[in-house]
């Protein structure tokens, strides 16, 4: 379908849903206590983003997300590559990894608060536990799925262990790792927000929790939308990074000569 008509249909869907909602509230069909009118939510968002103190909250959530993301990814890639290369270690550690991964991460939040306090690091820790496993499993899979012929070729050409890692294993795992990076951004945000939600004095999760405490549905909805935009922006940045990093992958426009 033509790109313009796709855009048009998307716009129509948006207008119908939001407009229907707005009209439903005005007509009294929809309870405004539970579903506040979109215009009020929009007004709340604008009030927030024109207020400088709002950016303090965004900054804190962003810091937690980025820290959790970077630490979790680094640990996940390291552990994944290691266990991908060493089958023995993978076999030994397998039940423990499965066990740890089976713990619903949210229940760890109180422990992290106990250990690390109500500040930044308890949220980072929660985000790390969420991000780690996604990256870990992908990195391990990526290393294991290295084409054996390519590997043999590099060995015959004289690559030593470190060079194999750098020139074969990492690039081969890179597309797996990158795809996990996309998924885990969402997890990093979830970790940070839940942490804030359960106990904090700042951040977007705190804003939502506060609005909820005041039965302020407008604030809750506005917070949710802000969060969605927040994740979308990070996603766009990663998209650009992925395109720059993996130039060797065939895409649909480029056909072999």
């Amino acid at each position: 379908m033509h790109a313009n008509s796709v855009r048009l249909i998307q716009l129509v869907i948006l207008v119908v849903v939001v407009g229907g909602w707005q009209m439903g509230v005005s007509a009294g069909v929809i309870d405004r206590f539970f579903f506040p009118p979109p215009f009020e939510i929009g007004a709340q968002i604008i009030r927030w983003i024109t207020d400088t103190s709002f950016y303090k909250h965004v900054g804190i959530t962003l810091t937690e997300t980025v820290l959790g993301y970077v630490i979790g990814t680094a640990l996940g890639v390291t552990a994944g590559v290691w266990l991908g290369l060493s089958r023995t270690s993978a076999r030994i550690l397998d039940p423990f990894i499965k066990g740890l991964n089976a713990i619903p991460r949210v229940v760890l939040a109180p422990i992290f608060v106990l250990w690390l306090g109500l500040g930044l690091w308890s949220k980072v820790a929660l985000a790390v536990t969420l991000v780690f496993f996604v990256t870990f499993f992908n990195a391990m899979q990526g290393v294991r799925e290295v084409n054996p012929v390519v590997l043999a070729n590099a060995r015959v050409l004289g690559a030593r262990k470190g060079e194999l890692l750098r020139h074969v294993y990492f690039p081969a795992a890179a597309s797996w790792i990158l795809s996990s990076l996309r998924t885990s951004v969402g997890f990093a945000v979830v970790g940070a927000i839940i942490g804030e939600y359960l106990g904090s004095s700042a951040g977007l999760g705190y804003l939502i929790a506060q609005a909820e405490g005041n039965f302020d549905a407008v604030g809750v909805f506005a917070g949710i939308i802000i969060l969605a935009i927040f994740v979308l922006i990070i996603d766009q940045i990663l998209d650009a990074a992925e395109r720059r990093l993996i130039t060797w992958r065939p895409n649909t426009e480029e056909r072999p000569a």
Binding site: A152, V156, L157, R160, I246
Partner: protein, 277 residues
């Protein structure tokens, strides 16, 4: 291009295998995977500058012999030596042309060709210069910055050739290198290969199931028995004059005579390997 190059150059006659020093020597080699013995008691000597072609029915463990010479697999019994020195692991003085695509897909042609030199610690400028020269040699000038997925199957094979030969290995191993290519591209690549090899003769061990290819390229054709416990059952010297053109040589009466003789030996093994399935 390839054909004219082959015809122009005049080469000395093939040195007899006995006269030149042995470059590759396999003695009593057994390759096994657990209880399964793929090849047993293989004794082979390849002279320096000799082009040895190994033919055998599918699944007779031909590739494991190459992998033993390359140091990718360890023989269960016996010894493998290259130029008198026992093979210890991969990365020796060997060029290996694989059947499948073996280029690193995340590196451009020139980066792929450079690899062998890079792993040997050659400086950036020097290896870049050499790799560029080799790409030109295999007819891929101007394709330096293409990724493998942007090249055709034949072009990828050319890059692989340059990659395997750039280090000037003592031994070149080939595992059905052209079997994935269409027949015209295959002839072109075979001629190209002969041209490159004749510029600087090395010991070559090529595995193929294509008897025509074996005779057209080789100085000697060795027949392997059907697996398991495959071994060398026959060896035929190919005294066709060089340089050869692989497409034309097939019409040579001497070629046909050789083909008949070797096929008589190979046919029984092929039938046996089918009977086992």
């Amino acid at each position: 291009m390839a054909l004219s190059a082959v015809k122009k150059i005049d080469y000395p006659q093939v040195p007899s295998a006995a006269a030149a020093k042995p470059m590759v020597a396999l003695q009593g080699v057994q390759m096994a995977f657990g209880d399964f013995v793929a090849v047993d008691d293989v004794n082979l000597t390849v002279a320096d500058g000799e082009f040895l072609a190994i033919v055998g029915p599918t699944g007779c463990g031909k590739s494991t012999i190459l992998n033993a010479i390359a140091g990718l697999l360890k023989p269960a019994k016996g010894s493998v030596t290259i130029d008198g020195a026992p093979v210890k692991g991969a990365g020796g003085d060997i060029g290996y042309l694989f059947q499948q695509d073996a280029l690193l897909p995340w590196k451009t042609s020139i980066e792929n060709v450079e690899l062998g030199l890079m792993f040997r610690g050659v400086g950036k400028a020097e290896r870049h210069e050499k790799a560029k020269g080799w790409l030109a040699k295999v007819g891929l000038k101007g394709f330096e910055d293409r990724y493998p997925h942007q090249l055709s199957g034949g072009q990828r094979k050319r890059v692989q050739m340059a990659q395997a030969l750039i280090t000037g290995p003592k031994v070149i191993l080939m595992d059905e290198p052209f079997s994935a290519l269409d027949i015209h591209t295959r002839h072109l690549m075979q001629n190209e290969l002969l041209r490159l090899w004749q510029e600087e003769r090395r010991a070559v061990v090529m595995i193929t199931h294509d008897l025509e290819e074996a005779i057209a390229l080789g100085d000697r054709v060795v027949v392997l028995a059907s697996g398991p416990r495959s071994r060398v059952i026959d060896s035929f010297p190919v005294d066709l004059s060089r340089p050869r053109d692989v497409a034309e040589i097939k019409l040579d009466p001497q070629f046909l005579e050789l083909y008949k003789n070797i096929w008589a030996s190979l046919r029984g093994e092929v039938e046996k390997s089918y009977a086992r399935k």
